[in-house]
Symmetry: C2
Subunit: 595 residues, 2 copies
């Protein structure tokens, strides 16, 4: 019993204990195949994304060994594939560029420092259980941000495909216009290699399908071949450049020497200035990386009725980034495409990720000399094809059709990313979506309701044929009451009463009010007093339990008097019109008596 409890405890902090203890033999096949397929994808992608980040190719490979093992031990997802991803690589590139770093050694040091900082921040957020903070970034903002970042990444690869250098700019239109006005500098051999690689990558899955159509290959081998496009492009590109000596004869840029063997254990820079400069970029890496990772992990887990613990994810991704920082890597996170491949290739546990890490380790030890002649244009092609899937035009049309405010948030985020950069884009997007939400809730839907035929149902008088009592105004508010909308309600009610002299009772129907904050409470109290002074009594109906509990901790019910709290709108209207009738009949009787 005690042992089981201890096992449970360790398992909570080290999920690997759980799946390693109860590892089932029949899971091994799927894990080995998935781990291998992911490795086949990862080798070229890791090098390409490192290049995108402005780092030497080996940094991407180094970031694909220890981080994977650490996530495998600590992560709550069984199938997430961690490693370098495109958008985080762009953030790293920005951070290095903004710090004004020119030499590659400092850039590498900054990148691993950024990874270590991100790791620390992620773990801190995890321990403080603040994972929910990413929820404040809305989908349309993420969508606009992702599409924008993909376009920025694509533009950043123009130089590698065209074969001439383009000065860095946060404004993508400057980049494009510079490229357009310098097209004469194009290295056509490089361009040909890049375009061929793009074509190969785009056609590869279909080629494999057609080629293997009538063969009876094991599905695992089929999966591996289907994902080998980038690796094949790398091999062909390297062979072509080597065979024709294109690096010397046509000035095609190549990857060059990659040190063979294990990465040296490198310590991050402990320079306060550097840390201060990297804090913004690190926060961005943390938020964007965590957001992407947790979304993928959840989608995959739910398909097998498994659970993801967002705070455990923060800790696991934090450890992975600390690992990247300690072994010459750069920031990593759970990537969408490789995780999906891992899942569909049959990964059952994080053993698959350990196998991937093993393959990358072997590559680093044995195969790096093979990449010497690898043309950078091929890596650019790998990036271009990977990010092209991130541009989501449909999201905009969908948002536009569904809810204009969301479409505005999406478009503005996208536009700002292109013009002012990713950082400004995501911050503006967040501000806009919060502002639009507040704006919407600040003008709640308010309906004057009346009775439907002879039922106990009350509906909007503008939408339905209903009966009303002239002395009673029944009003339903379709929103919780808080500071931003309380004056709106006040204005609405005062105007409604000022327009209708005969009104003597206002019934506020609170069925859709989930909360009443202090501002709204005070407004309601004032409103009740003011309307009483003007000869109108306010009543409440259908107040929810938690809201009524709140009211009982305040003076509201004293301000309400002689108004009452009715269980239902029906009760309210019945009781008030009855009282009305009684007063009238008394008046009539009185008249008769005096006549």
């Amino acid at each position: 019993m005690a042992k089981a409890t201890r096992g449970y405890r360790i398992g909570r902090w080290l999920p690997a204990v759980g799946w390693l203890r109860s590892y089932q033999k029949e899971h091994l096949g799927g894990d080995v195949i998935a781990g291998t397929v992911v490795a086949i994808m990862l080798v070229p992608q890791a090098m390409a994304y490192a290049m995108l980040a402005g780092l030497p190719a080996q940094v991407g490979l180094y970031a694909s060994i220890l981080p994977l093992v650490l996530y495998a031990l600590l992560g709550s997802s069984k199938t997430l594939a961690v490693g370098p991803v495109a958008i985080v690589s762009l953030l790293v590139a920005n951070a290095i560029a903004e710090a004004g770093v020119a030499d590659v050694v400092t850039a590498m040091m900054m990148a691993l420092t950024l990874a270590a900082m991100s790791g620390i921040l992620l773990i801190a957020l995890g321990i403080a259980r603040l994972g929910f903070l990413v929820n404040f970034i809305s989908h349309p903002v993420i969508s606009g941000f992702t599409s924008g970042a993909a376009v920025v990444i694509g533009a950043s690869q123009l130089k590698a495909v065209l074969g001439f250098s383009i000065p860095r700019s946060a404004n993508i239109f400057e980049t494009l216009s510079y490229a357009a006005s310098h097209l004469s500098a194009t290295n056509f051999v490089t361009l040909a290699i890049g375009l061929s690689a793009v074509a190969l990558l785009l056609c590869w899955p279909r080629l494999i399908d057609v080629a293997l159509k009538n063969t009876r290959l094991a599905s695992s081998l089929r999966a591996a071949l289907g994902r080998a496009g980038p690796l094949v492009a790398v091999l062909i590109g390297t062979l072509v450049v080597t065979g024709f000596s294109l690096n010397t004869r046509a000035a095609v840029e190549i990857v060059g020497a990659i040190p063979r063997g294990l990465p040296a254990i490198a310590l991050p820079m402990f320079d306060l200035e550097v840390w201060r400069a990297l804090l913004g970029p690190a926060l961005l890496v943390v938020f964007v990386g965590f957001m992407e990772s947790v979304a993928v992990a959840k989608t995959l887990a739910s398909k097998r009725r498994q659970k993801i613990d967002p705070n455990q994810e923060l800790i696991a991704l934090g450890a992975a980034n600390l690992g990247a920082g300690a072994t010459g890597g750069y920031p990593v996170t759970g990537g969408f495409s490789r995780s999906v491949v891992n899942f569909t290739a049959g990964a059952n546990t994080q053993l698959a990720a350990m196998i991937t890490a093993g393959w990358i380790l072997m590559t680093v030890i044995l195969l790096t000399p093979l990449f010497y002649f690898l043309p950078r244009a091929v890596l650019a092609a790998v990036i271009l094809v990977a990010v092209s899937t991130l541009i989501d035009v449909r999201a905009l049309t969908k948002a536009w059709r569904y809810n204009k405010a969301d479409a505005v948030a999406l478009s503005v985020t996208f536009g700002i990313v292109l013009i002012l950069g990713v950082e400004a884009g995501i911050l503006t997007g967040m501000a806009i979506s919060i502002a639009l939400y507040l704006l919407r809730t600040s003008r709640p839907h308010i309906a004057v309701v009346g009775r439907v035929a002879d039922t106990e149902h009350f509906r909007n008088i503008e939408r339905h044929r209903v009966r009303t009592v002239p002395t009673i105004l029944a009003i339903r508010v379709d929103e919780s009451l808080y500071f931003a909308n309380t004056r709106f309600l006040e204005d609405y009610l005062l105007a409604a009463v000022a327009d209708a002299d005969e009104v003597e009772h206002v019934v506020l129907i609170m069925s859709a009010v989930n909360f009443v904050d202090m501002s709204a409470l005070e407004s309601l109290e004032t409103l009740m007093d003011e309307l009483r002074d003007a000869g109108v009594t306010v009543h409440l109906a259908e107040v929810k339990g938690p809201v009524m509990d709140q009211f009982e901790r305040s003076d509201l019910l004293e301000h309400l008097a002689p108004g009452r709290v009715f269980l239902s709108t029906h009760d309210a209207i019945e009781a008030l019109s009855l009282a009305e009738a009684r007063v009238e009949s008394t008046a009539t009787t009185g008249e008769i008596g005096s006549s």
Copy 2:
């Protein structure tokens, strides 16, 4: 007809046309008395508040003539009393201090430039109909801000009461500790004058009550006498200083020479640097001033079933401030205490304000020499007594009892005002109240519900004794669904389903959902797909009309299938358990058949 329409139109932009045309003789008495009573209060207050703003006393008087007339012509309130107020004066003082202005002429120029800028901003907000923006400042933040500003104002008057100069500091504790460590520099004659004035001001209303107890004075004279405390203090203080030559013999600071006659028409500074420096303070003046003014105007209007048009108020207050800027004044707004006095003294129309302006004009032309020997300590006493009513400790205890989040917003705003100043205070307060609101709506109340006895009512299983069906999970979400809470719902549902293997149907009860944004829509779609993959069907119940309209503009209903939309929870549970029973009975029949 055309004439009436034109009249209506003009009346809309120039509300004075309305009440001047239909002016009733019997309103004149009230207007004259109220206008006079307000003038009696305003003369000393205007000079005191100008001093608080760091300006010569006459600036306060100049700001109490044309601005009142302009508001009277344009304002939508019949009883609002416009003029210098304490908190706006503090904002002006801060703006002048921050700009590093030392000489009084530049300070006056800055003050009138600030008034002109505020006027332009107010009118612009009015034309753009952006008056609703002030709604985003919550009551607790206003309360914390007002109390904090009152304390800051009080501390700023210490120097006038103690009779030695105290260096300006945004942090009130610095001011207090400086004062405490320099108490030996106290001018005791000044202190005696200041404390006597405070005592007089505090006791005056009761003195008048007692003195007039058995007299048969007209209520109008009684009202005028009751409000004459500050004026009496000013007169006594001036007489004492003049009589004993305290200004020369005891170094008591006096107001000094006030130019006699009309203010010269002065043009604001048209210096881009100055305008840029004053933009922040001007926005603060606009927001704080408008907030205070519109709150008072509304409260008073509602007591007589009159209406306030917030956008017309912006335009009227804007004109008043432009007027202040053109006649040597400084920013003005509708003040709380004088408006209440105006109202209770019987003001019927804005003619009262015009009469007040007439009295102030006469004072400026004829009486200013009388104020030469007026001790500044008396004006400080007028300020201290006026702002002491603004400190509202009860608001904190009330908020604490009612809603902790509001109490936090109030306390933090108050604290930041004291430590970092009014600007930082109100901005922090706004950020905190928005953050707390988002935080609350990001974790909505979600209840699993079951059927109450044999009724059609469904209630929280944790609060009531209810019956549930093991294969059906009925869940009610008590909040609109939007980006910040959509992941919370997702986590809740996935966890609930992962914990209960037997669940086959989830019924989402949407009765309290007023809106579903794009993020929430996508989450719901994903959730439906994911749960379907896991063998669970999602259904919806009690979807509101507007939300259903939204859904029909999206693909949600396709993702929902085979799930259905039920009118009521009752319908849903009935239909689903019936289907369940049918499947079970078929299974049983099958078994019987095969046995």
